[in-house]
């Protein structure tokens, strides 16, 4: 039980202007958000223009950390109806399932191409567990603290995050724009009666907004850096969240260190990720993320960084948000 989820309590941030400062407060999410008064300032305008620059999407990114085989997961320009919704297409054969299950093995192979994600997974889940337990007043010592919560994992990929969430008791919906990912996720989830209750849909966040779906918590991890319009994407996430619900987003900072570690080290030196996985210019800084979430009426209450220890090969939560970071916010009740 000495796991680091307790640590997350101490890694909290107060939002004070666009600067995100580290300090040890916000245990009950009481800190006030002062970002509103800043919105019209000069800096915010330049930030807004910067955000619009980010509209350009690299022509083709065949790989991404979460979105294997998914070039543009949540593009808003993507208007043709998603190929499948809610159910497996009736043309899907059993042999096909067998084929997908073979691929599912690589998605789920903790030593395979998704190794970095598997290594990071317990750490980000620890953050989610700690923040959601406090926000929804759930017992952190319960093996299934999320019982009774409806969560959505946006950009679920093969279901690496959705399955643990389901084991923690949540009613999980996993969505991904890539049909292959969804099929892989379904095959794998069916292996365990607990995870077979996950509802996987090949769709987009925007589509679900149109369907007026609502969730207690919306989780989009390592997705926003692959999105054409982060601001629009955040609005969609907010629209999916019930009032007083929670939103959790993780991404990579746009810093010198993130360029060195997430792109040069991870892609070119360690070959953790295929070259071209990430576009440094489309990363968001914590300040920018806080701002666009604020505009989507989500107040960021807590933020933590992920740091990698090369000796143990493990990730842990820390104050250092200069590379990978995760933010927890709540939706305004009005």
């Amino acid at each position: 039980m000495g796991f680091s989820y307790r640590k997350a309590k101490f890694v909290a941030y107060e939002i004070n202007g666009p600067r995100v400062q580290s300090h040890r407060l916000l245990r009950n999410g009481k800190a006030e958000n002062k970002i509103g008064g800043f919105a019209e300032s000069e800096k915010a305008k330049t930030m807004a223009s910067r955000l619009s620059v980010m509209k350009h999407v690299p022509p083709n990114r065949p790989w991404s950390m979460i979105h294997l085989l998914n070039p543009r997961p949540f593009s808003t320009e993507h208007h043709q109806p998603p190929p499948v919704t809610n159910t497996t297409p009736s043309s899907l054969k059993q042999q096909e399932l067998a084929k997908f299950s073979a691929i599912a093995d690589t998605w789920w192979d903790s030593e395979g191409p998704f190794k970095p994600l598997h290594a990071l997974n317990p750490t980000r889940l620890a953050f989610i567990r700690s923040t959601l337990c406090r926000h929804f007043r759930k017992d952190p010592y319960s093996p299934k603290p999320f019982q009774g919560l409806k969560l959505i994992d946006v950009g679920c990929g093969g279901g690496i995050l959705s399955e643990p969430l389901a084991r923690m008791g949540a009613t999980v919906t996993g969505v991904d724009a890539v049909e292959k990912n969804i099929n892989i996720a379904r095959v794998h989830a069916d292996l365990d009666p607990v995870t077979s209750t996950i509802e996987y849909c090949c769709t987009t966040a925007e589509k679900l907004v149109e369907e007026q779906r609502k969730f207690d918590a919306v989780i989009a991890l390592e997705v926003i850096e692959h999105v054409a319009e982060p601001a629009e994407f955040c609005k969609s996430l907010a629209a999916l969240t019930v009032p007083d619900g929670a939103t959790v987003i993780s991404t990579i900072n746009r810093s010198m260190r993130s360029y060195a570690s997430a792109i040069i080290a991870a892609e070119y030196i360690l070959h953790w990720l295929p070259k071209g996985t990430h576009q440094w210019s489309s990363f968001l800084t914590p300040e920018e993320l806080v701002l666009i979430l604020q505009r989507a009426s989500i107040d960021v209450k807590e933020m933590a960084g992920f740091v990698y220890n090369p000796l143990t090969g493990r990730w842990s939560l820390s104050d250092d948000i200069s590379v990978n970071f995760i933010a927890f916010g709540t939706k305004n009740s009005q």
Partner: protein, 509 residues
């Protein structure tokens, strides 16, 4: 829609196979039903031979001290107490609170539990049962060798503790853990049987297309380990824990490789009686290896005597054995060491500023053995260490992972350390929704325990080797080591803390 159909088809295929197996199990069923003629009210007697194979979260193979320690630890932690655990062991004691008669003389199979183990037992609620039975704390320990060149005395007060350890009969440790487990509302199923085969149900793709049943891919419920038992029963579990001792069946079936060697020596163990009370642990290094005298209750002590197979044997009559024992603990093989034989007090005087209590204690002669109070048992000694502790859905704990020289009584403490670490890591995994059989989770256990265990084994093996050679320069070194350990307080504290399981050696922590 298709998903639903697929699942149904899969379920049908599953049942089909289950029923096939039932035919071959019928004979075995009758056989083992007779074994179950006296069902116990304390625990559920499992419903076997239903259509479906029983599925569990964890299957613990071996309900010995370490296996029960794991079960107990899982039963008491908030994040793991909901787990559905199977314990596979043919020992009838597991299914009831069998009582230990206090008037029986102490059993020769005892363990020296360290303060770290005692606090673990307190955490899992088992220590209060140990206290109801025979147990003996000791706060002093004396180590010396046959050359008479030096000795070391340790005192619990050196590390500000009440006791250096406690000697408890193995059956008391085990029954305390069983009582503690039965006191919780833990979901356990005890299979009074032995493991015969084990298979990791392959992931869906290779479970494969069942040719006979019209090319249906069947997905059994989960990637599970499937265990077949000697009574014909079978069960599935997400995680199989091999706690089945030095000759672990799980280790063999899962194909773990081991490294190790035999010492070509035997340990003779027995209970002896003194005419006076004993509250000190004694260990003397003889040419063939150590002899240890551990207090077990007021006038009883336990003997662990390492000897070469040809040296002495159990055929020797009792009187001769007692004589040989007293000889070995006293003047046999060499003189008593004298305090300050090397002028050590002066050599080490620069440490005087920080003197431990025991540094001024003089050499004592252990109490005389008056008679033998139990059978003598002989065990061959060996060192074994599994190269890996974990594989897919399989994990080894205790002697299944490492068998050590009984010197210093560390073996079972390492096992309790394993049980404690594994249950904590399972709880950590459950906290973040991990599948408990996932190898990346189990690797954390291996990383934590392997370095600790290897370190301890290296120290024990080193001791065994260092003291089994009678060679001039080495004897001087040993004498220096004794003096150093006796007089250099910081070193003494480190040794005592390490031996009580509360410290990893400084260069490893």
């Amino acid at each position: 829609m298709n998903r639903v159909i697929a699942r149904k088809l899969a379920a049908n295929a599953y049942e089909l196979r289950a029923s096939q197996r039932q035919f071959c199990n019928d004979a075995a069923a009758k056989l083992s039903n007779s074994n179950l003629s006296h069902p116990n009210n304390e625990c559920e007697v499992k419903q076997r031979f239903t259509d479906n194979v029983q599925s569990h979260d964890i299957a613990i193979v071996g309900g010995g001290m370490v296996g029960m320690a794991l079960a107990c630890s899982l039963a008491t932690m908030p994040l793991t107490k909901h787990l559905n655990v199977a314990i596979i062991d043919s020992n009838p004691a597991l299914r009831s609170n069998y009582c230990i008669k206090k008037e029986d003389p102490p059993d020769p199979r005892v363990s020296t539990v360290t303060p770290a183990t005692i606090s673990f037992f307190k955490d899992v609620g088992a220590w209060k049962y140990v206290e109801q039975h025979r147990h003996a704390y000791f706060d002093k320990m004396q180590v010396w060798d046959y050359t008479g060149s030096g000795y070391t005395r340790y005192n619990a007060r050196d590390i500000n503790k009440e006791a250096l350890g406690c000697v408890v009969e193995n059956k008391v440790l085990q029954s305390s853990l069983i009582s503690s487990m039965h006191n919780t509302d833990f979901q356990k199923t005890i299979y009074p049987s032995r493991l015969t085969s084990m298979a990791i149900l392959p992931s869906s793709s290779s479970t494969g297309v069942d040719k006979s049943s019209s090319a249906i891919v069947s997905y059994p419920r989960g990637q599970l380990a499937k265990l077949e038992l000697s009574d014909g029963g079978s069960l599935c579990a997400k995680l199989v824990v091999g706690a089945d001792g030095g000759k672990s069946q799980v280790r063999e079936l899962a194909g773990f490789k081991i490294t190790g060697w035999n010492y070509y020596q035997n340990a003779v163990i027995c209970t002896v009686e003194h005419s006076v009370e004993n509250h000190c642990a004694w260990q003397r290094f003889l040419p063939s290896g150590p002899i240890a005298l551990l207090p077990i209750s007021d006038k009883f002590s336990n003997i662990v005597w390492t000897m070469n197979p040809n040296e002495l044997d159990c055929k020797m009559n009792e009187d001769d054995f007692v004589k040989a024992l007293n000889h070995a603990l006293d003047y046999g093989y060499g003189p008593h060491p004298k305090s300050g034989v090397l002028g050590s007090a002066d050599i080490f005087s620069w440490f005087r500023g920080d003197v431990t209590m025991s540094a001024n204690e003089c050499f004592e002669v252990p109490p005389k053995v008056v008679k033998l109070a139990s059978e003598r048992m002989v065990f061959p000694l060996s060192l074994k260490h599994a190269n890996d502790y974990v594989a897919k859905r399989t994990v080894l704990i205790g002697d299944a992972a490492h068998t050590v020289h009984p010197l210093a009584g560390q073996g079972v403490n390492m096992g309790f350390g394993d049980a404690s670490a594994l249950s904590r890591i399972i709880a950590d995994g459950i906290a973040v929704g991990t599948d408990i059989g996932e190898i990346s989770l189990l690797k954390k256990y291996e990383a934590e325990r392997k370095s600790a265990n290897v370190m301890m084994m290296a120290v024990l093996d080193g001791f065994q080797k260092a003291y089994s050679v009678d060679f001039g320069p080495l004897n001087v070194l040993r004498a220096a080591a004794f003096h150093g350990a006796h007089h250099i307080s910081p070193l003494k504290r480190i040794i005592v803390s390490f031996a009580s399981g509360q410290l990893r050696l400084p260069f490893f922590s």
